[in-house]
């Protein structure tokens, strides 16, 4: 809301300087956003919160100043002189729409349309409003004075002198004063005569009934339209105006008559004519303002400062609250009609506090100490992040909504269709991905978003593209309105499959060294059928790893190979050993032995390793994979050689050669029995 310094002086003396004024206003709730010099005047821009529509007029701001500076308001009740004819003989109003609560009309005959006087033009110019003609300017002026929107119709264009406030017909066409044609719907409210709509209620007038140079009779509308209806209409038609802005924030229906009189008074003064006697006033009467009790003790209980009772009473009274009774420990007041936001005791606490001054609230209260806890999930996340950072992965953050092709590309956690947003996210895709589709599906996997991030980096010739993200995915569940929203850890990397695999193994190991992690075969179109797998911990799925398939590379336009991973964070957290427990470490030397086994290609490493572990017995400390190689000329095409090392150690003595030989023999015969493994010497 921009207010004119000069204009404010009509209602309150401004003896303070500008900086002091805007500072006091800021500190009492009207945040100063800037001031511009316009001619001899100052345009002061104040931020008005949505609960204070009363400050969307100069009078409202002046009231605040009058309270802050303890200086009286100068406000008169407008009493424009009226002529002989009776309005009821000339004009009638009927409300047929539930979106109009009250409608008042006054009629002025014999006006002379022309330019506004300079003082009026200047004030409108200060607040950035164009001057149209004296009548239209008068309606605007009063709106910016009291906050009540008004509209002037050329009464000659209102067929039969009858105003009908009704819902628009479906697809009813309407030409507004901006000369554009709008298609209306049944949720919109129009002000019509017997035939056509003359205005969209509270939003904009029409060209047909517009006040022009030839207009001689004007009907002044001061009405109360429903805030939600006005907002919906203005938004759907993109016709936001100072009028709709005020209706959206709700107006003071008690002031309709004041505003109507004031507007007529001004028109008579600057455009001449005669005011027809009386006023058409139909619809609901304003409700009785609520009676509120403020217990003085609540001020200290909630604000933490003591405010003298006399100061409290004076503030309430200055703000226009009507003090009904003063008790020992409480005051009973009635709120003024323009303060619809004051309905409860808590609202009065705020009023007294803000005028008394929040600067008097101390910032060195003794707040008691309290213990706080780091959640287990934070601790687990720390460990996961530590591994990833050490491995050179940078953390990414990608939007939670994705376009359909990405959503379809990979959804390992659920087969349920994704949730869809009523609105897409706009402007979140890089130019190269603009035609991929609307970004309106809640993602079920982090992988597609990370592949897009990979593509962007690849396109920008970045090297070492290794990214991870920890974020929620949204998995719809049957019969539950709120989806399951587990946290996942996603990875994308340009390094090879086993490097990335090793990172996952390290993550799991860092959380719990004892956890058995296995990789099982999996099938996903996004993943290479060989270089992929499904991670399993204790029968539960931890996640997936895989190199992006040819199809994935095509969909995400990747030039190089990328390996992706997605892990369930909850399972990682559940597996975490929060506080590691000590085990005695043997003080004796270990013994290492290498084994070079020839086995069929179909024997996987992990099966062989299991056998070695099983047959190695108590003395086995570690089994390490060394390498796999093939010698087709010696072993044939179906065989491979696996070289592995075992480390043996005893807790109570140095191992003897004999003990070592026994273990080695057990391993060799075990592998031979279970995998037909042949030891190469």
């Amino acid at each position: 809301m921009i207010v004119s310094w000069d204009w404010l002086t009509d209602y309150v003396d401004l003896k303070m300087d500008h900086d002091d004024l805007v500072d006091r206003l800021t500190m009492s709730g009207l945040n100063h956003e800037g001031t511009e010099i316009v001619g001899a005047d100052k345009a002061i821009d104040l931020e008005v919160t949505s609960n204070r529509p009363d400050c969307l007029g100069h009078i409202g701001v002046a009231r605040e100043i009058s309270v802050l500076y303890d200086t009286p308001m100068k406000l008169q009740f407008p009493q424009p002189p009226a002529g002989g004819k009776l309005i009821d003989d000339l004009c009638s109003v009927e409300i047929k729409s539930k979106n109009c609560f009250r409608y008042t009309a006054r009629l002025i005959q014999g006006v002379k349309i022309g330019p506004s006087p300079d003082w009026l033009k200047d004030r409108l110019a200060t607040i950035g409003v164009d001057s149209i003609n004296n009548v239209v300017d008068a309606t605007n002026y009063v709106m910016f004075e009291i906050g009540q929107p008004l509209h002037a119709f050329d009464f000659a264009k209102i067929s039969g002198g009858k105003i009908i406030v009704r819902d628009a017909k479906k697809d009813e066409s309407f030409v507004a004063i901006d000369h554009k044609t709008y298609s209306l719907d049944a949720d919109m409210c129009v002000v019509a005569d017997a035939n056509d709509a003359a205005a969209i209620g509270g939003v904009m007038g029409g060209t047909d009934s517009e006040v022009t140079d030839s207009t001689t009779e004007v009907l002044i509308e001061a009405a109360y339209f429903d805030q939600l209806s006005v907002r919906r209409t203005a938004r759907r038609l993109t016709l936001q105006s100072p009028s709709s802005f005020r209706f959206e924030r709700n107006i003071d229906s008690q002031m309709l008559d004041w505003a109507s009189r004031r507007c007529c008074e001004l028109i008579l003064e600057i455009a001449g004519g005669t005011l027809v006697d009386g006023c058409v006033d139909v619809g609901q009467r304003p409700p009785q303002p609520p009676v509120l009790t403020l217990r003085y003790g609540q001020l200290e209980r909630l604000l933490g400062i003591e405010i003298p009772t006399s100061a409290t009473n004076k503030i309430l009274s200055d703000l226009g609250l009507n003090i009904q009774t003063i008790q020992d420990d409480a005051v009973v007041v009635e709120a003024p009609s323009w303060r619809k936001d004051l309905t409860r005791e808590a609202d009065l606490v705020e009023e007294v506090g803000r005028i008394y001054g929040f600067d008097k609230v101390p910032d060195d209260a003794s707040v008691p100490m309290a213990a706080s806890y780091r959640p287990k999930s934070d601790r687990a996340l720390d460990r996961v992040q530590s591994v990833l950072l050490a491995a050179g992965f940078d953390e990414a953050m990608t939007p939670s909504l994705v376009p359909e092709p990405w959503s379809k590309a990979f959804s390992p956690w659920t087969d349920h269709p994704p949730l869809k947003s009523s609105q897409p996210m706009l402007g979140v895709l890089e130019k190269a991905s603009h035609n991929i589709g609307a970004v309106d599906l809640l993602r079920r996997s982090l992988v597609p978003s990370l592949l897009e991030a990979y593509r962007i980096n690849e396109f920008r010739s970045n090297s070492d593209i290794e990214l991870f993200e920890t974020a929620k995915v949204y998995l719809p569940t049957q019969g539950q309105p709120i989806p399951n929203q587990p946290l996942k850890v996603g990875l994308v990397s340009g390094r090879d499959f086993f490097f990335v695999k090793g990172i996952v193994e390290t993550i799991v190991g860092s959380l719990s060294p004892q956890t058995q992690l296995t990789l099982e075969a999996t099938e996903h179109g996004l993943l290479d059928p060989d270089r992929s797998g499904q991670w399993v911990i204790g029968g539960a799925t931890l996640g997936w790893i895989g190199r992006a398939s040819q199809a994935a590379k095509k969909l995400f336009r990747l030039r190089s190979d990328a390996v992706v991973v997605e892990l369930d964070f909850q399972l990682l957290e559940d597996s975490m050993v929060a506080i590691a427990q000590h085990e005695n470490q043997s003080a004796f030397q270990s013994v290492s032995r290498d084994f070079n086994f020839i086995v069929e290609n179909s024997v996987p490493w992990d099966a062989l390793e299991r056998t070695v572990r099983k047959t190695g017995g108590m003395l086995l400390e570690a089994v390490d994979f060394r390498e796999v190689f093939r010698d087709e000329t010696k072993d044939g095409k179906t065989k491979k050689r696996i070289l592995l090392s075992v480390t043996l150690r005893s807790g109570d003595s140095t191992l003897t050669g004999k003990e070592v030989d026994v273990v080695c023999q057990s391993i060799i015969s075990g592998c031979e029995k279970e995998h037909a493994a042949m030891l190469l010497n």
Binding site: P362, A370, L426
Partner: protein, 352 residues
């Protein structure tokens, strides 16, 4: 089975012979490899000749064993000495400082690349840390919320502009034909949460006072992305509820928070504002670099909010405050476009 008996004289003779052979062998070695071969032959730990001869000790008469042992030790020393001399001859004195003119210590070290946490995460961690020291424990809540927790329980009436369908990501199940039914009950549709205040409600529904919690996370509003807007961003929200929590407590905590965050004692001020879920509502500013900088919104929890979670507003009071993380993060790192945060260019990410 005991080894065959051996006379002492023969044992000593064998040792003398071995000493001589070893001394010759070490003396003749012309490089380190040759020397090492000789070392293995004579001094090898398993099959070295000295080791083998040592086994004969078992065959010596007990009465002669001390003399035999003495002789063996002398042999050991002599061979070792011969080896050390040869080694010194071939490799130089180990204790002497040898300069290597080819070595350049200023060549770059072998770097390993550490990853970086996202600047938003770094900011969140910093704030979480500060709040933790002030006794606030992190709490979590769902990002897809229902209307009740996002609006109704927070005292945001139907008429409030924040509830406009165009200003929220309301949800339905994809794949249904046009006019798809909104997910959730008709009067309680689901949406991407537009503020982290929802976690306040969830937490107060879960536990009884006293409460000191801090919630952090993603929130969503359908603004078109530009340099200062993004349809997804992060908020931090603090909540404290107890028997007599006041605006003075709020101002005190905010001051401690700002001072910790900025690393220096800063003046703060609170000025009236409006949020449906607090009454009074305030904006907090801190004074930095000669001007007041907006910190975030705060206030005393509205009695309607307390009632909606079954707390008695006559018995309990509390404060809540919320800050936008992106703004703090961007000021902190001088990031000029919010979209950089979500493009994930690794060169951008590695700066922080």
């Amino acid at each position: 089975m005991s080894p065959p008996a051996m006379p002492l004289a023969k044992f000593v003779q064998t040792l003398e012979l071995l000493t001589e052979e070893a001394q010759n062998s070490f003396a003749q070695a012309s490089d380190a490899d040759q020397l090492d071969e000789s070392r293995v032959e004579f001094l090898g730990a398993k099959k070295g000749r000295l080791k083998l001869i040592q086994k004969d000790l078992a065959g010596i008469e007990n009465s002669e064993k001390p003399a035999a042992g003495k002789s063996l030790n002398a042999t050991k020393q002599a061979i070792q000495q011969a080896f050390d001399e040869a080694k010194k001859r071939l490799l130089g004195d180990q204790d002497k400082v040898v300069r290597d003119p080819k070595f350049d210590a200023t060549l770059p070290g072998t770097k390993f690349r550490m990853g970086k946490l996202h600047p938003i995460t770094q900011t969140i961690n910093e704030l979480k840390d500060i709040m933790g020291r002030l006794g606030f424990t992190p709490a979590q809540g769902p990002e897809v919320e229902d209307d009740y927790h996002n609006f109704q329980a927070l005292n945001i009436p139907m008429s409030h502009p924040a509830r406009d369908p165009l200003d929220n990501f309301y949800l339905s199940v994809a794949g249904k034909h046009s006019g798809a039914v909104a997910a959730g009950e008709e009067d309680n549709p689901t949406l991407m949460r537009s503020q982290t205040s929802t976690v306040q409600i969830r937490e107060m529904e879960r536990i009884d006072p006293p409460i000191r919690m801090v919630s952090l996370g993603r929130v969503y509003r359908p603004d078109t992305a530009d340099w200062s807007h993004y349809p997804m961003f992060h908020q931090i929200e603090g909540l404290m509820i107890d028997k007599s929590v006041t605006l003075a407590d709020l101002k005190t905590v905010l001051k401690l928070f700002a001072t910790s965050y900025l690393g220096d004692e800063v003046p703060i001020r609170i000025r009236p504002s409006f949020f449906p879920f607090t009454e009074p509502s305030v904006e907090a500013d801190y004074y930095w670099d000669g001007k007041w900088v907006e910190f975030g919104g705060a206030g005393i929890v509205d009695p309607n909010v307390l009632k909606s979670v079954g707390y008695d507003p006559e018995k309990y009071s509390g404060f809540a405050f919320g800050l936008g993380i992106e703004r703090l993060c961007m000021i902190r790192h001088q990031i000029t476009d919010i979209r950089y945060l979500f493009t994930n260019d690794v060169r951008f990410l590695r700066q922080f």
